[in-house]
Every structure is written in structure tokens, then in C-alpha cells.
């Protein structure tokens, strides 16, 4: 059957047809849709795990029973999961275990750019990379067979332009049903990694890679296309598509088994062509591996090390390096210098439950004392705070967008769950400011909890704001343990944030409404003055998730004096018309938010139906 599938849909369907019984993941762009797709298949146990480490551990346990398991995550997710990933490599598996890591070259939605191919070499695990959705689908059959044949987890690496591109797929397999039934057979030498047994396993891991080196030599997945022998291009992943697009006449070697690499095949290719180049995104991974074979290749001399590639980047690099001729440009029309066009940065949405808190943090932060000059007297900054100011350690989620104008609400963002530890570190180092950690509900459960334990145990006085929008919003509204809804949409048991905080030992736990500006401000102002740890759960559902719609608010132009205080909350529904504030009724969610009405000193914003 011919279908148009995204890489992620193809990976999911391929894994389903390979007979997986268990699939685990933590949401993360660009990997999220893999588990979402699998969740629609009835006969696969599917879970959103608390984090990627847990996802991998659940996957490993299931694989020990003999069933096939798929674990998926974004590139930085594998940093979190690296401990069980290495452990899986050490113990090996019983049923096939495939870890999908989706990279984000170009950083469309991540906190950093990293090349996860190194993990394969580091953990001594075989790696395969598809070049389109068809291969993503086809490879799933191969990787599970490799996993079981060589008793190893397999890393299947994708990137944004594989996972999120739709390409045509011939879906030509049915779900495998003749697979092993789950049962656990004791084997301490394999499963219990005390040093004595781990030493044995390390030996086995090294032998396994040697066997895999031989195996990949004959793999039909790698493809040599001989054309013009002057230039030979080695590439993998989506970079292969760019290479084919740009070097139309050249000879190509497409590598799908990218660790270990097929050395003899590469040597053969080298003998067929005069000059070899490698086209790959991010690090010179293949280039270094090939060079280690003693083959002189170039690549990163002219292909950029950072960012994602595209056809014109590859083409321009090749022209500058003299590999492609300078094109005879068609006579272009005379062009003026391009006028500067305004940028369109991402924003918190209209009605976002994070806005009021971030607006408050900015107001209390005294970065720009003038900005609160037009607030009523009772909402001016407390004098003590004004003296020291706030430092806000941020985390990963939609609220990170509060770093932009006009909110300017965050001082740090590092990685999942880092805010709480960073806040404690700043405090213990002796920074004089009041320090706040800001973290989302899903992120707190992912890896913020352990930080909070550290604060309690080590007698910090950190104030932790948990922005609870009751979903994992940034990746597209996935459920998490706090929601009490499973990955398949079935009601389960909800984990309570306030109970966790209390259980950890925080005495000062507060819950406030995300749209109640005075309550948020008073809770923060009070908590930062105490010498004990405190938690403020700011609760309000993401309006895009629960699809809130109310009567939009409007600005009474009689009352509006054009002070633009309403613009400072950064709501995309609010702009200026005729020198007065103006609310776009197609975006405003109405009185369930009303953050703008609360900041308006003239009380000029009200329900449009009044």
C-alpha cells in the first residue's frame, strides 16, 4: 500500500510491523509523534514515561523478557537516558531493543545542538540511519533482527528533516506475530552487573563490535551508485538527499549502517573514484571514522560544523571549495538592498497561564524599575526586594519563551530540571539576590523532584514556582503523571504535585490560580522573604489543550489613555490601533484569563458583551 508518511509515522509503523509489544518515550521535538502513532495500535503497551531514563529502563526490563521494545526520545533525551543505555549495551538484551534518537540540527526546538552518533561508538552499540520515510519503515525490520542476532540494543538515529518530513512509503509488511512470549529466565552473569560479571560482559561487547564490523560489510542497506568517477560523495541521513540533489552527476555511497562503518565497501568505493568527500550534518563523524581507515577524505573543511544543512549550503560550500564550478548566473533583475523586515519570534499564546507569573517576575525583578511605575501603589515592589532584586533560574518548556521582550522574565535555562539545582547553587555560592526556580509540571516530574529533595536536605531557602498547565504543552499536549491520563488516553492515577512537595519535606506549599495576578505576586513576595524552601504551584490549564473559548475582552477607547501597560504582558492578541490598546477578538480567550484587564491602570479592559 502506498502512503505518504512522516519519518516518525514510518518508524512507528515499521516497529509495529516488526512485532513490538512495548513502546516507551518522553515527549521531545522532533521525536514525539513516534509514540503518539504507536499509542493508536491496540496490541502494543505504550507509555509516556516520567523521563527518558525511566523510559529506557522500562524498555530494558521488557526486553529482558524476550519481547520486542521501542524506546524513543529527542537527542538531549539520550543524555538523560545514557546511564541505562550504556547498561543495556553491557548486559545485552533478550528481545530486540531499539532506541530511536531524533536529533535537532539547526536547533528548531532544543537547548543545544549535539551529534548523537557519538553515542553509538561510545556505548559500543550498532547504529543505523534512514534517508527518508521509506527507509525509516524498512529499517525497523532490520534493526530488531540485528538487536536479537547480536544481543545488543540498536541505536536508530533520525533528525528533524527525517522525522518531520513526509515522503512516499510502500507499506509492504504485516505485523509479525510469531515472536517470543514474555518470560524471564534467571542469568545473573548476564543481568546482574557486579564488577566480576561486568568485566565478562565488556569482553563480549568488544567481540560483538568486531562481529558487527563484518556483518555491515554485506548489508544491502548501504548503496554504491557509480556515475562520474571524478567525484565520490559519501553521505548518510538527510544529508544524502542534499548530496544527491547537489552533486547530480557524481558517484555516491549511501551509508545506512553508520556505526560500525563498512570499511571494505568504503575502500572499494575509494578505488572507483578520483576524489572522495563526505557530506554530513554536525560533527565529522563519518569523516573521522573513514580517515581512521587511512583513507584521505575531506568534508568539514568546507561543509559547516554547526546548524542543519540544506541544498544551497552544500552547493555553496562545494563551489567555494572548487568542487563544483561557479554557476553562470542568469541575468538577475537589478536588486536594491533588501529592506529590513520585522522578525516574528515565537510567543506565549493568548490566554497562556504562564503570562501572569512571568509578568510578575519581571515586575519584581527590578531590571527595569520604570516599567512598573504605572502600577497602583499597593503593587509596587517591596523595598527589600527592590534592593536585592530577583534571579530567576528557568527550565525547559513554553515558559522559556518568557526570556523574550516584553517579559524578560528568566535568567537561566540549561536542561530539563536544572532550574532547582541551579537556584540552590546560586544561593549556596552566596549570591545576595532572592533566587527563584521556575519549572513546568511535566519538567518537575521529569527531573525537578530530585533537585527539590536536594534543597530540602541541604537546607536551602529556594522558592520553586511550578507552572502547572496540566499538560506537556510545548511538544503538543502529551499527558504526564500529573494529568492522570495515559498515553492511550485512558484514565489512570494522577500524581499530585502538592503532595510530592509536602512528601519531600517542603512545609510552605502554596497553590494559586494562574490568572490571579495579585495572588501570584503576594505568594512570590512572601515566599522569597522566608529562610525555608517554598513551593508555589501556579495552576491553570493550557487554553489550547482544553480549548477554552469565552467572550473576548475589549478595550474601552474612552477610558484607555494609551499608557500601553497592557502591551507589557506580551499577549499576541493585544496590539495598538489609533494610539490605544486594541484586542484581537479572534485570539482573546476572554474572562477566564483577563491578565490584561488586571494590569490596566485605567480599568479600560472589559468583557465585550457587557
Amino acid at each position: 500500500m502506498i502512503k505518504l508518511l512522516s519519518g516518525n509515522e514510518a518508524l512507528a509503523l515499521g516497529a509495529y510491523h516488526a512485532g513490538i509489544k512495548v513502546a516507551t518515550a518522553y515527549p521531545g521535538t522532533p521525536s514525539t509523534e513516534i509514540l503518539e502513532t504507536i499509542a493508536s495500535f491496540d496490541d502494543v503497551y505504550t507509555e509516556w514515561s516520567t523521563n527518558e531514563k525511566v523510559a529506557t529502563e522500562v524498555g530494558l526490563g521488557a526486553a529482558y523478557s524476550g519481547v520486542r521494545v521501542l524506546v524513543s526520545m529527542k537527542q538531549v533525551g539520550l543524555n538523560v537516558a545514557s546511564d541505562p543505555f550504556f547498561a543495556a549495551s553491557t548486559t545485552g538484551i533478550v528481545g530486540g531493543l531499539v532506541v530511536v534518537s531524533c536529533g535537532d540540527p539547526g536547533i528548531h526546538s532544543s537547548q543545544g545542538e549535539q551529534d548523537n552518533r557519538h553515542y553509538a561508538k561510545f556505548a559500543k552499540v550498532p547504529m543505523l540511519e534512514p534517508t527518508d520515510s521509506q527507509e525509516a519503515y524498512d529499517l525497523m525490520d532490520w534493526v530488531f533482527n540485528i538487536s536479537e542476532e547480536f544481543d545488543t540494543p540498536v541505536l536508530l538515529r533520525s533528525t528533524t528533516r527525517i522525522s518531520h518530513c513526509k515522503t512516499v512509503v510502500n507499506v509492504n509488511r504485516e505485523r509479525k506475530t510469531d515472536l517470543r512470549q514474555p518470560s524471564f529466565t534467571r542469568s545473573p552473569e548476564k543481568f546482574v552487573m557486579i564488577p566480576a560479571y561486568a568485566r565478562l560482559r565488556h569482553q563480549i561487547m568488544e567481540e560483538r563490535i568486531v562481529k558487527l564490523r563484518t556483518y555491515v560489510e554485506d548489508s544491502p542497506l548501504n548503496e554504491m551508485l557509480l556515475a562520474d568517477r571524478k567525484l565520490g560523495v559519501i553521505s548518510s541521513g538527510v544529508a544524502h538527499q542534499y548530496a544527491r540533489e547537489v552533486f547530480r552527476d557524481a558517484s555516491h555511497l549511501k551509508l545506512v549502517t553508520t556505526y560500525p562503518i563498512p570499511a571494505k565497501l568504503i575502500r572499494r568505493f575509494t578505488q572507483e573514484v578520483e576524489r572522495i568527500i563526505v557530506v554530513e550534518e554536525l560533527d565529522p563523524f563519518l569523516e573521522d571514522e573513514i580517515r581512521a581507515l587511512g583513507i584521505p577524505v575531506t568534508g568539514k573543511e568546507f561543509i559547516p560544523l554547526t546548524g542543519e544543512l540544506n541544498p544551497e549550503i552544500v552547493e555553496n560550500a562545494a563551489i567555494q571549495a572548487g568542487i563544483l564550478p561557479v554557476p553562470l548566473k542568469p541575468s538577475l533583475k537589478s536588486r536594491e538592498a533588501e529592506p529590513q523586515l520585522p522578525q516574528r519570534p515565537p510567543l506565549l499564546c493568548a490566554g497562556c497561564p504562564h503570562t501572569a507569573t512571568e509578568f510578575t517576575l519581571r515586575g519584581l525583578g527590578i531590571y527595569n524599575p520604570c516599567s512598573v511605575g504605572d502600577l497602583p501603589e499597593e503593587r509596587k515592589i517591596p523595598s527589600q526586594l527592590k534592593k536585592a532584586g530577583l534571579v530567576v533560574a528557568g527550565d525547559i518548556g513554553c515558559y522559556t519563551l518568557g526570556v523574550y521582550a516584553p517579559l524578560f522574565a528568566l535568567d537561566t535555562t540549561a536542561c530539563m530540571g536544572a532550574s532547582i539545582g541551579q537556584a540552590l547553587g546560586l544561593e549556596k555560592a552566596g549570591v545576595q539576590n532572592k533566587i527563584i526556580a521556575v519549572i513546568g509540571d511535566s519538567t518537575f516530574l521529569h527531573s525537578g523532584m530530585t533537585g527539590l529533595v536536594d534543597v530540602v536536605y541541604n537546607q536551602g531557602s529556594t522558592t520553586v514556582i511550578i507552572l502547572d498547565n496540566e499538560t506537556t504543552a510545548m511538544t503538543g499536549h502529551q499527558s504526564h503523571p500529573g494529568t492522570g491520563i495515559s498515553a492511550k488516553g485512558i484514565e489512570t492515577r494522577a500524581v499530585q504535585l502538592e503532595t510530592i512537595a509536602q512528601g519531600i519535606g517542603v512545609q510552605d506549599v502554596n497553590v494559586v490560580n494562574a490568572f490571579d495576578l495579585p495572588a501570584i505576586e503576594s505568594a512570590i513576595s512572601r515566599c522569597v522573604e522566608t529562610d525555608e524552601p517554598s513551593v508555589i504551584i501556579v495552576r491553570g490549564a493550557c487554553p489550547l489543550h482544553v480549548k477554552v473559548s469565552g467572550t473576548p475582552l475589549e478595550v474601552d477607547s474612552e477610558k484607555c489613555d494609551g499608557c500601553y501597560a497592557c502591551l507589557r504582558i506580551g499577549c499576541p492578541a493585544i496590539s495598538v490601533a489609533d494610539d490605544k490598546g486594541w484586542i484581537d477578538s479572534s485570539l482573546c480567550i476572554g474572562s477566564s484569563c483577563s491578565t490584561c484587564a488586571q494590569v490596566c491602570p485605567q480599568e479600560a479592559i472589559e468583557d465585550s458583551k457587557k
Binding site: I2, K3, L4, H108, S109, D132, R161, H164, C165, K166, T167, V168, V238, Q241, Y242, R244, E245, N310, P311, E312, E315, P330, L332, K333, R335, E336, E338, P339, Q340, L341, P342, Q343, R344, P345, P346, L347, L348, C349, A350, C398, L401, A405, P406, A473, M474, G476, L544, L567, G570, P572, S575, V576, S586
Partner: protein, 204 residues
Amino acid sequence: MKEINVLMVGVGGQGVILASDTMSEIGTNNGYDVKKSDSLGMAQRGGGVVSHVRWGKHIFSPLIKKGEVDFLLGFEQLEAARWSSYLKSDGVAIVSDVVIVPVSVIGGNTPYPSWGEANKILAQYTDEIYLLPATKIGTEVGNPRALNVVMLGSLSVFLELETETWTDGIRHRLPPQFVESSLEAFSRGAAEAGAMRLANEAKK
């Protein structure tokens, strides 16, 4: 089988992805090799959205090379101007008259370009620019969210496929309650673009 490169650009929430998905499925069902790739940025809404759709006999790159776009579909005027340099010299720009002012304009120093200015930027790359009264069509068919189908309708005029192929694709992709107004929006978009194209050819 002629290769066709379409770049759809707009703002989150405008239905760019639904339009490019629909177009990609139509291409697949008609025997083309199809690749499509979106850039969404981080936000759920409000950021720029770019979708590359490629039809052909055999497509390699999922991203269209700069200077090789046959049809630039601007769902929003500023975004159309921003991506103009992707156009081929004989490419076609179809731009909806929708204006969505970014927050950076409200608080900043760079003004939102007028249509005259946006048109001038586009005209550096192509002579064939059509400004579509998409807002009016949306209101008149009683479905302001039908902008994406208006854009598909206008594009259909320039491609070889039968109208039924498009309408079947739309019927298949859209929720039933929106099908009727969407099909009307589609034919209105096609009629507008068709008339403008004829007028343009007469001028030549």
C-alpha cells in the same frame, strides 16, 4: 512528469500545514514522488511557519533550494515578502491580503511593510504576483478559517490536475462540517486567481 516546487509561508494557526498536507496527499495519489517538510519553530501559535512541498518523478531533497520555488504561497503578506528570495525568476507569487502584525513591530522600530513595499520586494524576483482578497472570500463563504483552501484553489489554476482531484483531496482531508464552505472557498480562490492570471497575460 514536471517537477513542481511550492513554498507555503504564513503564521502559526493559519492552516499552512493542513494546506501542505492536503497538497502532498493529492500529489501522492496522482503518482508523483512527493516530499514535504515544515519548519514550525517552537511556539504553538504566533511564530512563522514554512512548508516545502515538492512533486516530481524522483525527489531527493525535502527542502527546496533557494531560487527554485515555482509557486510561493504567502498566507500572510510579511511572510511572503520574507521568503521572496526563494522564488525562481519565472516563479509565481500568490499572496493573501491577510496582515498579522508581529509583536516585534508593536514594541520595536522596524515597521510592518505596506503591500506596496512587500510587492516591491517580491517584484525583484518575479513579474507574476497576485494579491488575493482572501479575507473577503473567507467572510463571504462563512468560514474565516478557509484561507488555506482559498490558497489551494488559487494554486490549482496553475497546475495540470483536474479540479475533481483537488476537491476529492479536500473532502478527504477536512472535517465534514467544513467541507462545503471549504469547497466554495476553493472555487472562489480558483476563480480569483484565474481571472487575475488572464488579466496578467492580456497585459503581456
